[in-house]
Subunit: 189 residues, 2 copies
DNA sequence: AGCTAAACGGACGCATGCGTCCACTACCGT
DNA sequence: ACGGTAGTGGACGCATGCGTCCGTTTAGCT
């Protein structure tokens, strides 16, 4: 799935790898992407060298760490697609994507503007965007979504949602919920 | 106006002070707040010591550098207040505040979340918010603004607008214009 | 012109984060 | 149990940004 073979690793190495990913997930979600690699290593209980051996760049680490969250995004979009009412499905997608972003400080950059070279993430992102475009097209068909709203507008709003900085996670989630509601109002025909 | 007396300075010192502020304004707008103090000193053609002597902290420098931009914000709000049609005035305020934010990368933080101790900015900010609250109240009276939209929602959207990152100023301005339009749609009754 | 104090800026020491090297450890096959 | 090798993490050198000190320059008054 991700280039490197994780199977040939020795048991302790595999163990450390998992602990590193757990630590990265926690700290990226809580503090954002501006944390030193050392801090992640420290929390994982390993030395810096071990961290750098498994993940040569912060990007590689982030890509792996956010993989499941990216999958959650894809799942949200897929779920929206299957909704019999496209407008309702779109609303759900907006609400849930905003919440996902709010719960993980660092994930925003990965999903919206994407890392320059995170191919795995970028591919899934493109697929999700294509699905969203289809969902929006159908939602316009029902007359609930304003015809002049483009896919770019949705991306725009998601990016803006990422700008909702707040110290506590709870405050961010609350703000994002309100933002999602306002976005839906902006999109409603 | 700002504690320190700038009048007793020697002519060359006063000159340098102005060049520092000009450089700070330019670089803060273009690059954001994450530029080294050294860089500003370099562009102003002075040594680091001179910069630190005039502005002990980056905050002090930013407060002075953004003073006129903050005045522009206040002017925008005041102009909106005098509009005979409150809803139209509010729309103008939203559009122009979004554009001001987009044109200066670093100003966003100063106006929305404000620096912890920038009293000058904070005071004007509070006054502007009070004015905005009044404008919104009147706009609701005309029936054009949705009754359930609060002042906090406007602040929320302005903060979100600050999250619209883009490399070029033109791209940021374009995105902000679209965002302002969507915000107005979200607020419209 | 000469003097004095204000102003200047290069240079210094400190702190932080990065990426890498190497002597030590411990897993795993025999 | 034991040897070989994958794996480890402390330590190192480098780079960048910060804030301050001090010898030198220059404005401004007489």
């Amino acid at each position: 799935m991700s280039g490197h073979l994780t199977q040939n690793l020795r048991s302790d190495a595999l163990d450390n790898r998992e602990r590193i990913l757990d630590a990265a997930r926690a700290v990226f979600a809580a503090e954002g992407m501006d944390v030193p690699m050392r801090e992640i290593a420290r929390r994982a209980g390993v030395g810096p060298a071990t961290l750098y051996r498994r993940f040569p760049t912060k990007q590689a680490l982030a890509t792996e760490a956010f993989a499941d969250q990216m999958n959650a995004c894809v799942a949200v979009v897929d779920e929206g697609l299957t909704d019999p009412d496209p407008w309702h499905g779109l609303c759900l997608v907006i609400e849930q994507l905003c919440e996902l972003q709010a719960r993980s400080r660092g994930f925003t950059a990965a999903f919206t503007s994407a890392f320059p070279h995170a191919v795995d993430l970028a591919a899934k992102r493109e697929a999700a965007l294509a699905s969203l475009a289809d969902l929006m097209r159908r939602a316009k068909g029902t007359g609930h979504l304003r015809p002049d709203v483009a896919l770019d507008d949705l991306v725009l709003m998601l990016m803006a949602n990422g700008g909702l900085h707040a110290t506590s996670t709870n405050a961010r989630v609350a703000a994002s919920r309100r933002f999602a509601a306002l976005t839906i109002e902006a999109f409603r025909a």
